[in-house]
Subunit: 128 residues, 6 copies
């Protein structure tokens, strides 16, 4: 295992993202690309000093929400952003902050997805 | 002047953005829209509690860089983000952070613009 | 209730969009943003003189279709555009008109959604 | 000359767009594509019944402004939209109308380009 | 039937895309647009000499994956690209190739869709 | 120098792109990111087997043209695509092929840039 992969795996585990699940999700198609994601996105980029992880994750959410069509990625990164120390209220404030720059539809769709994720997490927690 | 406009103007002045210049830039076309930008973008949204101004501005830069074609807005918001307390190094780290999510071209173009703005600011300062 | 909210609510009701439903849809996350949408999008912008409501709504549909991933917004705005005085044939002509400028996929996806909405409305009407 | 090309040429001339200039602009690269644009965009699509030309052109402007990076196309289509019967005030209202759906930057950049085009037209007219 | 439509139909049939199904899918809304797609996209453009069909289809997949929200079009064009002579491995390599230019989310979403399509094709084939 | 960087440098040199120039272009801002581009974009991704370099470069051009605002990247990658074995006519055919999928404006802007680059190359060659 490369050093970059080790760094990437640590960053992912700190965010509650399972690197082996990411790798497995593309393994039937390509036996290398999943590892490249771990090495590059998390090992080379997200692990960099210069910006704290909480801010990085808020920016990641903004980029995913703004481009649209990233439902699966928001499912992964909304919980990861909470793990990185952001609060639900900050994630909501973030998605509201998008509107002057990319318009209301992208903002609302991200808020609706956050609402469902938060509700699902609460109902799971509340299960006796 | 509405309370929202007052709030918006204060936020803008804190970021080193001149509200009257924004209003004047569209005034030959529309005598109301510039004020709406002050009231809405800065008075309603950016002024909200729930996310600190420095984080907001970093997110704004990410959204401008990611959508491309926002050179004039980056010219305004890169200095504004420095005013909001972010460092040059954080802005650079932010633009590098874009790459796994929106690709290298948007990231590089924002970095090149930042490089020119920083150099222009330094050379202005260095003028005896 | 602000004057802008009152204006916005009237515009929305004229389009058959329930302002309280919009506000309620984000209320679990944020008690203010729904009202901001009413005030800003409908009170400040859509209510403006200078462009008739039917043209505005056709433009809104074009913008939603062109950016993709706005299914929920098209569900709201296709009926609203009919309320504003456009015909089904005009909405179809509009989505066809997109193709030279943004390509066929965005156009087809909007047409498929319109087809389903029109069929659902017809079958509901036909219910004895 | 195909019937579609004839129809396309008439539509273009009605909008003040020179079909031969469009064809010439790509002729050094491809001797067919310019004609395809005339035939398809203007002959097949813009010439269709079902939506009046003024509304079509306003929608075209909205699509060009919203995707960004279409300066050369706005240079062509802003005057064409005036030719189609829209007023300057309507074009301004249109660009302002973009903001709730695609954000303020795209709206402002289109307004700035319109401002320059209008000023250039006025100064040309004013030349003694 | 125009010559362009004939050419377009042949290209489509060679790709395993049924022109009548495309025409039928929009016929309830517009009795002409489906034919325009056959004539223009396949008759005027894809049929052109200058680039082989396999390369054209790989480029088409890249464009659909990169803009997001084109699930229905990928469902049509992934099998069509296999028909044009590309292998599954090349389609996977293509979607991986997107990442430096448009980011990992668009790449992953296309890969996930390809994975499902390939699995569905295999299970259908494997049915005794 | 990592093995990935070595691989990336070889790929770049084969395409006529100077890795040291890329690294130098961001070095005043960040002493690591330029190397990451060499390692990741060219070492990890473009160097992969599974798709020939000429096809990869044509896809890269399509992605750059389609997203707009990538003038500097097209300046680099149009010559690189010629180096990879594609002809000028294929690049033109590629940009024409974009239109059914992303619209005519993105296609035309890429063609105009190619026209200028080709003319500049020819005039340079023609200099006695």
């Amino acid at each position: 295992m490369s050093e970059r992969e080790q760094v990437g795996r640590e960053v992912m585990l700190g965010l509650g993202i399972d690197p082996d699940a990411v790798i497995a999700s593309v393994a039937p198609l390509d036996d290398r690309f999943g590892t490249t994601i771990v090495e590059y996105a998390f090992g080379d980029i997200v692990s960099r000093p210069g910006l704290d992880l909480r801010t990085r994750q808020l920016v990641t959410l903004a980029l995913l929400a703004a481009q649209g069509g990233c439902g699966p990625q928001l499912d992964t990164h909304i919980p990861a952003t909470l793990r990185a120390g952001a609060t639900r209220a900050e994630i909501v404030a973030l998605f509201v902050h998008l509107t002057p720059y990319v318009g209301i539809p992208r903002s609302l769709n991200a808020l609706y997805q956050a609402k469902e994720l938060f509700a699902a997490a609460d109902s799971q927690e509340g299960t006796p």
